[in-house]
Amino acid sequence: MTYSVRSATVRFGRTVALDDVTVEVPAGSVVAVVGGDGAGKSTLLRALVGEVALDTGEVEAPPRQRLGYLPASSGSWAALTVTQNIDFVAGIYGLAGDELAARRAELLDRASLTPAAGRLAAQLSGGMRRKLGFIMAIVHQPALLILDEPSTGVDPVSRIDLWRLASEAAASGAAVLMSTTYLDEAERAAHLVVLDRGRVLVQGSYDQVRAGFAGAVTRADQPVRAEWAWRRGRVLHEYWPGGDPPAGTATIEPDLEDIVIALSLARRHEVPS
């Protein structure tokens, strides 16, 4: 089974939030959507959930009871305990009794949240709260799992827990679509989609994206053309779309962050905002 949006366009007033976007999410794999705020990540995810209607295009998604969704906002109730939050959502899907107790215990254990089971959601750290939201999205074993920035603002250790939970969900057969602003997470996905201002800049496996990247990236203390340069640590990287840096500049092997920035810059030069 593969879920998808095809040729999707969504307008909010005069803003084009999605512009002819096609993304496929096959069962058993993790697809990552990367992009900053305003790129269209949440709109794409919400189109699959059925919370946003397309102006044109098609959505192929399972019915609501086979779909799990972690929204970008907290996704849990602050005044309920961890256990109450899970039981409430599980009840909506008809999960109860021993079956619920076993499922809850298993998920709490996998998310390392068992010691916090009796704590109010309001008293959880940011990372714990996102893991609780994840459990609530997956408690009914959905066919399609949609996670909107599960790891933003989450520390590196909890981020690894979240990633493990997502890859386990995919390994047990779910189609997983997650958005992220962390490019090292996107590298891990079977398929990554880079969105920029409503359009797909590039998509494919990490190896495909790297292989398809044209042009050269150089490293220097001072850029030759400031409008094509960006900061990486203490040095600057610079993009040469034609692959023609001046002789003597140090060319580097670009990583995903360099590639995304270079392609975004190229689009800015082509289509000013």
Binding site: G35, G36, D37, G38, A39, S112, S125, G126, G127, M128, E149, T152, G153, V154, D155, P156, V157, S158, R159, I160, W163, R164, S167, E168, A171, T181, Y182, L183, D184, E187, R188, Y206, W230, R231, R232, G233, R234, L256, E257, V260, I261, S264, L265
Partner: protein, 289 residues
């Protein structure tokens, strides 16, 4: 007379029975970017709020610009909290003129990227633009100290690079900057790092100082997801860097046993540890105690 812009001496803060910050001493000097790292709940934001005089210390002493963090000294400070501290129901221009008046400065000019938003309500702006407004508001009075709590969380890569240019420029004109981040690539852009865990300061200095004696093993294999699952199930402290699997403080022989029991072929190699691996070991110690 010290040149410390921010100073904490044996500072502790309790909330009821919970110790959020436990005997922390640290300082920030002019011209440096100090990075404050730690897991969610490690005490970073509580420490910042004490340094700025927004909450009281339970014991110990904090100094802002050489004295208690009172209103007069806070005028010489720029602060961007995690929640940004803007008024959603005011426009960009109104927010900036309000904060400039509060600091006794002239209202700042809008940078080119924001001019189109001057009369838009802040709550209607994308998050990245809101962060830029919060930066402009915090910098309008040329503060001597700049405190930034997760300034780039949720921001795209281009905007992140631009915000770090701004941070560097502030340090170069002599301001002291204290910045928290969960993004280790950003930690590497700091001049000095401070690592908190469970309310305590557990490391200070360069990246190498923070990593200390933590070691790591890199696991190379065809199917990283399978190897990751097998090692995690065995309770190993597994981390991921892109698609590379790494295990902190591990015995390669033990890892080889786990992997071959799961029928996975892999090669193992000792590698330098990262800050994240040090944080993982700290969080495991905290859980065990």
């Amino acid at each position: 007379m010290t040149s410390d812009l921010l100073r904490a001496a044996h500072v502790t803060r309790r909330f009821g029975a919970f110790t959020a910050v436990d005997d922390v001493s640290m300082r920030v000097q002019p011209g440096e970017v100090a990075g404050l790292l730690g897991a969610n709940g490690a005490g970073k934001t509580t420490l910042i709020r004490m340094l700025l005089g927004l909450i009281a210390v339970t014991s110990g002493r904090v100094e802002l610009l050489g004295g208690p963090p009172d209103r007069e000294r806070r005028r010489r400070l720029g602060y961007v909290p995690q929640g940004l501290g803007l008024y959603g129901d005011l426009t960009v221009r109104e927010n900036l003129s309000f904060s400039a008046r509060a600091y006794g400065a002239a209202a700042p000019a809008l940078p080119p990227a924001l001019t189109g938003y001057a009369d838009v309500l802040v709550r209607e702006l994308p998050l990245g633009a809101q962060r830029q407004v919060a930066f402009v508001a915090a910098l309008a009075h040329s503060p001597e100290v700049l405190v930034l709590d997760e300034p780039t969380s949720g921001v795209d890569v281009l905007a992140r690079a631009a915000l770090w240019d701004t941070i560097r420029a502030q340090a170069e004109r002599g301001a002291g900057v204290l910045v928290t981040t969960h993004y280790m690539q950003e930690a590497q852009q700091c001049d000095r790092l401070l690592l908190m865990s469970d309310g305590r300061l557990v490391g200070e200095g360069s990246e190498a100082d923070i990593i200390g004696s933590t070691t790591a093993v890199a696991v190379s294999t065809g199917d990283w997801a399978q190897a990751f699952a097998a090692l995690a199930a065995a309770g190993a402290p597994v981390m991921l860097a892109g698609r590379a699997i790494r295990v902190a403080n591990a015995d390669p022989a033990e890892l080889a046993r786990v992997l071959s029991a799961a029928g996975i072929e892999a090669s193992l190699q000792p590698v330098p540890a990262t800050i994240e691996e040090r944080m993982l070991m700290l969080s495991r110690q905290a859980k065990a105690s």
